[in-house]
């Protein structure tokens, strides 16, 4: 099941643009116009920032959808960004990026969590499942089949998160009634309002005896 680790470090895109954005926004630039001592401090800070880029990478070993990866990440990188930008698994969506919408839901060691509020560096040694890891070969996961059958989406942006949450909702034992499904799916927002069909899809899979994870 678990393949050899691959070193994905070299595939990583530069995060320097993010650092530049930050520098633009700091008061350091305003301070440049004010006092020489402040200028020195600002310059040092800038140098520190650059130097930090070489030292702050942390080694991260994670297994994603059955495949082991060794990565080098900055502490500030979220699991969502590492999945999407480094591993190119773009199924998990960045909706609000603030833990309010659920579009980024993935499973970590079998538990559903929000990958946008998870620091990647804190997931060392953990097993991650994303929407890409649910199907087996060409065979869709029963929950994916059910979402298609019941039209459980319109634009589809929230769907990967909905499905990851739905699979967990059943495995946690919280899909007994439609009301229970609604309560335990409350962390996944759908702006298209496909809720009734999502509940139908989950209810059907639950009644068929759950689903494999």
């Amino acid at each position: 099941m678990c393949q050899q680790p691959t070193n994905d470090a070299e595939k990583q895109p530069s995060l320097h643009h993010a650092r530049r954005n930050f520098l633009k926004q700091t008061s350091a630039l305003t301070a440049l116009a004010l006092a020489p001592s402040v200028v020195m401090k600002a310059a040092e800070k800038k140098l520190d920032e650059k130097a930090a880029g070489f030292f702050e990478q942390k080694t991260l070993n994670i297994e994603v959808n059955g495949k082991a990866h060794q990565l080098s990440v900055e502490p500030r990188a979220t699991l969502l960004d590492v999945l999407r930008e480094n591993l190119h698994l773009t199924g998990s969506k960045k909706g609000c990026d603030l833990g309010q919408c659920g579009a980024c839901t993935v499973h970590v060691d079998g538990k559903r969590v929000l990958s946008c509020l998870s620091l990647a560096v804190m997931q060392n040694g953990k097993k991650i499942t994303t929407i890409e890891g649910l199907q087996q070969g060409d065979q869709l996961h029963p929950m994916q089949e059910a979402f298609i059958k019941h039209d459980g989406f319109q634009c589809g942006y929230c769907t990967p998160g909905q499905i990851m949450s739905a699979v967990a909702c059943i495995s946690e034992g919280h899909a007994g009634t439609d009301n229970e499904i609604r309560e335990y799916m409350s962390g996944n927002i759908c702006r298209c309002g496909a809720y009734p069909n999502i509940v139908d899809a989950i209810s059907e899979v639950a009644k068929k005896g759950g689903s494999r994870d």
């Binding site: 993010a18 650092r19 954005n21 930050f22 926004q25 920032e49 930090a52 702050e56 942390k58 900055e74 502490p75 500030r76 979220t78 609000c96 990026d97 603030l98 833990g99 309010q100 659920g102 839901t105 538990k111 559903r112 969590v113 929000l114 509020l117 998870s118 620091l119 560096v121 804190m122 949450s165 967990a168 909702c169 946690e172 919280h174 609604r182 309560e183 335990y184 409350s186 962390g187 996944n188």
Partner: protein, 338 residues
């Protein structure tokens, strides 16, 4: 959520150092730096860092410490500070002895967040006041002495009890309301001895220094909470949460209630409210009034009026002056089965 509207720009997270100690002592040492912070679930801290509200220079990841156990110790239930909110809510010991805590936890956040959030982190979460989150607005809690945007601003979610001129924010936790009602004790390590703080004294009122949410000192670490077992309360307890939508929203007001009945008479009672103050708000006057009285609608109404005696509104949250007593009465009615 409204907060999305308030978010004006995306503030990239400033980089920081990250360490993951494996012993309590190393964790305490690592967190001695002035700008170091502990991180566990990160559901609030990472959010605050993304918005630029908090900018720690070092994060000390404490998830490697052995502090997630839940067990009965004599007449108490001990809950480790790293126990996940979802695990505590569904734990057999909690459901049996502390159903009020289980209910409160289930009422909070979403399943995904409960799978990440810890007991200690829940206690340490910051207010969700929109002015605290909005860097373009004044906020004494975020930037001391910058002013309070909420007092004369959009303060629908804000406090009706115990606020100060400096801050009218509320503590957003549901779990903490139940723990305050159940007379829990917070266990705190500081490297030398274990400090024990009554839960109701852990969080503080804003006063003149709203930047401090609680009485935890720098260099201290919450190791767990201890909650006394009370068989009568376990039989009769209820958490009522009123919010803008059916689930996954912070409380407008909430009530945690536990009753010990002797026939129709209330032998003992615990009452606390959420969404109304800078800390979980124990209704001690109402508790005193109801002790040894009959569980009647008139007595419940009288108790709710007493509880609201010192309440103040700030405009947009005036509805809470009606909603709060109604929620108290409703909760007690439901609990007493009348």
């Amino acid at each position: 959520m409204l907060l999305v509207k308030w978010l004006k720009k995306e503030a990239p997270v400033i980089n920081f150092d990250y360490v993951k100690p494996t012993t309590e002592q190393n964790a305490l040492t690592a967190c001695k730096d002035p700008l170091a912070q502990f991180i566990a679930g990160g559901t609030n801290l990472v959010d605050l860092m993304k918005r630029g509200v908090t900018n720690p220079e070092k994060l000390v990841d404490i998830t490697g410490l052995p502090m997630s156990n839940i067990e009965q110790k004599g007449d108490n239930i001990f809950i480790g500070s790293l126990a996940l909110n979802s695990v505590v809510a569904e734990h057999e010991l909690i459901k049996k002895h502390l159903p009020l805590l289980s209910q409160a936890l289930q009422a909070g956040a979403s399943p995904q967040i409960r799978n990440m959030a810890t007991v200690g982190g829940n206690m340490m979460q910051r207010t969700r006041c929109g002015y605290f989150y909005d860097l373009s607005m004044p906020c004494n809690k975020r930037t001391p002495n910058s002013g309070c945007g909420a007092k004369e601003g959009y303060n629908r979610m804000h406090a009706i009890f115990g606020a100060s001129d400096k801050c009218i924010a509320v503590h957003p936790s549901d779990m903490c309301v139940a723990l305050a009602a159940l007379d829990a004790t917070v266990l705190i390590a500081n490297g030398k001895l274990l400090r024990r703080v009554p839960f109701k004294d852990f969080h503080k009122l804003p006063g003149s220094n709203p930047e401090k949410d609680n009485n935890l000192l720098k260099g201290e670490l919450i190791t767990g909470v201890e909650v006394p077992i009370n068989a009568a309360f376990a039989q009769h307890s209820l958490y009522t949460k009123i919010r803008d939508r059916a689930s996954y929203a912070f409380a407008l007001v909430s009530v945690a209630a536990a009753l010990e009945m002797n026939g129709k008479t209330i032998k003992d009672i615990r009452l606390a409210m959420g969404g109304v103050a800078h800390k979980p708000w124990r209704l001690t006057t109402a508790e005193q009034f109801l002790k040894s009285k009959e569980a009647t609608p008139a007595n419940f109404k009288q108790a709710a009026m007493l509880a609201l005696k010192d309440a103040t509104s700030y405009g947009h949250n005036q509805f809470k002056l009606t909603l709060a007593p109604n929620t108290i009465v409703h909760t007690l009615h439901t609990l007493a089965g009348i």
